[in-house]
Amino acid sequence: MTSRLSLLAGMTLAALLPLSAQAQSQDPVRLGFLSSMSGTFGVLGAEQKRGMDLALEHLGNKLGGRPVKLIEVDDKSSPVEAADLANKLVEREKVQVVTGLVVSNSMLAAIDPLLKNNVFVVGANAGPSQLAGEKCHQNMFVVAFANEQWGTGLADYLNRTGVKRMMFLGMDYQAGWDHAKSVARNFKGENLGEIYTPLSQMDFSSVLTQVRAKKPDAIYAFYVGGAAVPFMKQWKQSGLGQSVKLYSMGAIADSMLLPAMGDAALDLETAYSWNPEMKTPGNQRFVEDFRKKHGRNPTQFAMFQYDAIMLLDAAVKEADPADADKFRAALKKANFKSLRGNFKFNNNNFPIQDIILQRVEKTPDGKFDVKFVDIIKKDVEDPHHRSCPLKS
């Protein structure tokens, strides 16, 4: 009898002990997820969230072994709403770190209220050039990319493979210019012209006619969001693909958009930071678990957010977010395994990363998939880091 009682008491004690011992250091990390989960960019914010949820699942809902208090807010793709929510996250929810931030406009609107209140920002997609340059900040880290990186890598590849005459197409806004011009600027052959179309334009026949008239060897086209599918379909229909090679960046035809394109994107080659087939540590697990949950390959939006959570996990392991100096140093070290492989932060807290080439191919079951081809340029920096006053 006594032995049973003491066993019970011992078990109870054993169960309670870890609680009391860790109570102080186990305050939850207060993490805000501010993104656009509805509205124009809702597709992207929702995909980010899938990446975050999977990362937290893999970490047992802990960051650096500590519980997480996650506060998710949706700015409905509106910068005004984003600024408002940023203030609420700071004042009402007392968050220590904010992640997400899928769109540049919203990020620019939300960034001041966050940084002024000493909140750490870990951006997982948007990387407006101002924030990479003069307006960089010691407490702001972007794990994703700067607009110019993929184009810089791609131009290098085009120069190497002997492409002589090119045209550059893009959507008429900051990202469109940044992406298309970064290829155009670094391309050593002949530039036959740049054409920028308004965001609302969905009929590209007149643009394609201009391409046909100029007879380039290849074109670079930056079309994302609602314009990506129409552009690819009309490109295929124009028959130009038989004489002109098309290059772009990965988001024009990722696993969310490919099913809507049929065979229109076949043979398209794109520059990107990551591909589901890459043999980097953790990548296979990420891709397989994502496929199990959502029935398709993850996109890069989910992957960046997954990386952002893994970065936070590594940093919280080393330092408490309440201790700003130590936590900042821990983030800067980027002591985590990025699914991209090679990753480090530049002086402006934007990534230095390898650029890859991928190609859309037909799979044996008659569907289409983005296949990893090769790493085309290693350790690519963005051009803005020189105007950032931070030291590395």
Binding site: S206, V229, Q234
Partner: protein, 297 residues
Amino acid sequence: MSIAFLAEQSFNALQLGLMLFLMAVGVTLAFGTMRLINLAHGSFFMLAAYFYAWVIAQTDSGIISFIGALAGLAVLAVLIERIIIRPLYLRDHLEQVLATFGLILVFNDLVMMVWGRDPVYVPLPDILSGHVMLGDIAYPAYRLVITAVAIIIGIAIWYLITRTRTGGLIRASADNRAVVQALGANVDRLGGAVFALVAVLAGIAGIMTAPLIAVTSGMGDSVLIQSLVVVIIGGLGSISGALVGALLVAFVDVFGRTYLPFLLGNTTGFALANMAIYLLMAATLVWRPFGIFGKPR
């Protein structure tokens, strides 16, 4: 710039113009016959594309899907007319605008709830996926078919409006609804029929455009704005105005985008090209405040 280039760009503009005409003629007919400002017109464009995509995924038959989608759309249009639009005929235009704008929001969210946020795939009919040689130009066969269909429908509408008894009633009730009613014609039923007709026209435009663009929530919104520009330029209520306005807008748009950046440099050129159709609209309104074929009211 060679002749072939000019010819190809003209084909592009003609095709865009006829597509805009199919949309604009609906806006103008609804206003002409029922004094109705119908912003939900873009939603019919979108819904038809979704219906078509859904039926073709089940049946694999382009013709069944085409007819099925349009039939579904017509039924929906009759219901909307009966329940939402009819009480608004005698109301202020502002109330019509608010109600039909509300419909845009409702339908944009509804399709997202039913079919999801990701764009839906609409295949191109196999026989139309090739090219036709027009002299030296390999022009996409599908775009030529769109052009031909739009011309046929344009002629059919012209015939309906100017040569048939129904057309006569439509024109008469456009001029004076009360008198036509007093003469014993069922103006309410006519309104319902016209509303279904314009929905079907928008639907045809939506289905024919679907294989070229992305079928997503909100795909009709930018088309609606362009067709409003067309109608304002051509004159609200005028069918020939819709045709002339649509072709004007399309040619100014296509050739503006081609030549303005070339003439004025990229920055000014692209900015001006984006504004071109709106400048055209402003200029038309200064010249003729009721549009080219519009009558003062």
